[in-house]
């Protein structure tokens, strides 16, 4: 048996072990069939460190490890800016929104935004926004799963990749439906431990190849990159459009505002018992994310330094395999037993990253469908057992839809889908949460304008960007509907989302100036939180 077969054998054993262990974790730590808290938040049982691990696990998805890692490996400086923005986003969530979010909602984003207003339109709009924000990100994870398994097991057959996506999609639906938030939290904790331990080991091996000198590592990466003179300067990723500065600022701000506001992250905060507990958990989460981001940067730059940009691009045009390639290159010349174990650890970490992330997103979507859309129709207050049953059915429905959509997009540029999710997060969810938790005058009209207008603006503008069409690297290279001279929509839709919420709340209307009776709750969630 040669080295390649041995590594594939290890990987196959690891995949099987992960599937078994994680399914067992979900079953063992899954929720009681009548406990909605356990199913939707699963927070109260864990210590702050474990909650921090679970939040970080939800936050670090394939978009970070593979997508941002690829941009760092191929574009250097601009990728580092995006990686730092990813780390900052969760930090700002902790400093600005974590405490107000605690206790402001029960289970879903709809609970937070619709608090105090009985109108169903708010819940329906919030459910739609949750689906629009998370479905693209789920497709990224599922399509990456097919790529990862194909790459590790060494096959390049389209049918086999599709079978992988379908099988793994079924597995993720199982996690979400059986384990609920509590079960997936256990998987997230396992994932973060494996990711950080194996990532630190690979980073140390990479740095050892350059005598632990970051300067030498960076110079080697620049020398072997596709654009040696530009690798350590701003502009390699964003410099190709008509407005490079606007692209850089817009994309980064989108990531800072959008990444941490996505519903599967905020959902973890609702169930915290006290403010000190949520602060401690978030401090752990931010620390773990910062370590993960630095690991991704070191490994991606290491891949560029050890293999060169051309070799990375030959495996994947977006460089998504940089993390794995760095691990393989770091254990050269011969992997041996220890090397094979490390490679298995890295593939296990990536596999867990993909599996657990999708499970959390499926759960957030299923939760909003069950809690905000279907549950109120079945009766005035459906019993918990019935609502959990609806949520489990919704998880299966969302999962099937995600798998069906992931199959046709698996060979496309997946960065466009990641950015679409982040754009919805930054242009719709971030303004809605910030206004509703921190601004007393924000009312139902402002909220609906933000939710509906912000989402519509993203859905109209995003297909017109150069990330979707009009360039060879676009998601649809054969199509050209690129009428917007920007890479992402953040520069337009983020200010628009905030402006719509503000305008909707301050513009005078005929019927809404009736004074509220004394003691009535403010129309929107957080008015009582921060005055």
């Amino acid at each position: 048996m040669n080295a390649g077969d041995s590594a594939q054998g290890f990987a196959l054993v690891a995949f099987t072990a992960i599937v078994t262990v994680t399914l067992m974790l979900c079953v063992v730590s899954g929720p009681d069939s009548e406990n909605l808290e356990e199913f939707y938040t699963g927070y109260a049982r864990f210590s702050p460190l474990r909650n921090g691990l679970a939040i970080a696990g939800d936050y670090i998805s394939a978009a970070t490890v593979l997508g941002t890692g690829g941009v760092v490996a191929l574009a250097g400086y601009d990728g580092i800016v995006l990686a730092v923005a990813t780390s900052l986003s969760l930090a700002l969530l902790m400093a600005v929104l974590a405490e107000p979010l605690r206790g402001s909602g029960r289970f879903t984003l709809g609970d937070v935004l619709a608090r105090g207003t009985p109108e169903r339109s708010v819940r329906l709009a919030t459910a739609a926004v949750t689906l629009v924000a998370l479905l693209p990100l789920m497709l990224v994870q599922l399509a990456s799963c097919g790529d990862l398994v194909a790459f590790v097991l060494g096959f390049d057959d389209s049918v086999a990749r599709t079978v992988c996506i379908v099988a793994l999609g079924l597995l993720m639906m199982g996690y979400a439906a059986m384990g609920g938030m509590q079960g997936t939290a256990s998987v997230q904790i396992l994932k973060m431990i494996v990711l950080i331990v194996s990532g630190l080991a690979v980073s140390a091996l990479v740095l050892r190849r350059f005598d632990y000198d970051v300067g030498t590592l960076l110079r080697a990466a620049a020398d072997r990159s596709l654009a040696p003179g530009l690798y350590l300067r701003p502009g390699l990723q964003f410099g190709t459009g008509s407005y490079p500065r606007l692209d850089m600022i817009g994309t980064t701000v989108t990531l800072v505002l959008g990444a941490a506001c996505l519903p599967h992250i905020t959902m973890r905060l609702y169930g915290a018992r006290s403010a000190p507990q949520v602060r401690r958990a978030m401090a752990w989460a931010v620390s773990l994310v910062a370590v993960s981001v630095l690991i991704v940067v070191v490994c991606a730059v290491g891949a560029a330094a050890l293999l060169g940009g051309r070799a990375i691009r030959a495996v994947d045009p977006q460089g998504d395999s940089a993390f794995l390639l760095a691990a393989r290159a770091a254990v050269e010349p011969g992997p041996g037993l220890a090397g094979n174990l490390l490679l298995t650890g890295v593939t296990t970490a990536l596999f867990l990253t993909l599996l657990a992330s999708v499970a959390g997103m499926i759960l957030a979507c299923a939760g909003t469908l069950a809690h905000d859309v279907f549950a109120p129709r079945t009766s005035a207050a459906p019993p918990p057992r019935q609502e959990i049953r609806i949520a489990r059915a919704a998880a299966l429905g969302v999962g099937c839809a995600a798998v069906a959509l992931a199959v046709p997009v698996q060979h496309r540029n997946l960065h466009a889908l990641s950015m679409l999710s982040m754009s919805v997060g930054a242009s719709v969810i971030a303004p809605a949460l910030l206004y509703s938790l921190l601004w007393r005058r924000f009312d139902r009209t402002g909220l609906l304008w933000t939710l509906v207008g912000g989402t519509a603006s993203v859905l109209i503008c995003f297909p017109a960007t150069s990330l979707v069409s009009g360039t060879p690297q676009a998601a649809l290279p054969g199509v050209d509907v690129n009428w917007l001279p920007l890479a992402t929509t953040g520069a337009i839709t983020v200010p628009l989302g905030f402006a719509l919420g503000w305008l909707g709340s301050v513009l005078p209307r005929r019927h809404d100036r009736v004074p509220e009776p004394a003691g009535r709750a403010p129309a929107v969630a957080g008015a009582r939180i921060e005055s």
Binding site: Y77, I80, V81, A83, V84, A85, S87, L88, A91, L92, M94, A95, V96, E99, D213, V214, G215, T216, L218, R219, L232, R233, P234, G235, R245, M248, I249, T252, V256, A275, P276, R279, R280, M282, A283, V286, S287, A290, V291, V293, L294, V297, I529, E530
Partner: protein
Amino acid sequence: MVWRAARASRYTDTEEGREALRRDACRGPRRAAALVTGGIFAVFLLLSAFAPGAMTAPLPGGGVPAGVMAGLLHPPFTVAVLWWYERTAGRREREVAR
């Protein structure tokens, strides 16, 4: 401190009042943490976009470009600021509770 004592005398009678006092106590460090981490990143981003020359100047010693070093140092700096916030807010809450 005078205004804080005045608020304390008004609000300690009710649960909402005590919650408001607790929030007051944490508000300063919370805003400071958000402004410092977000503000420094905003400067880093604006310099990267509008003054790339300043960010590519090599630092003395290893010759690492200033912008790359700033980017690599930002996550650990953020972590330090947020742990400071966590500790300070907890201490102030305990003071208010007493």
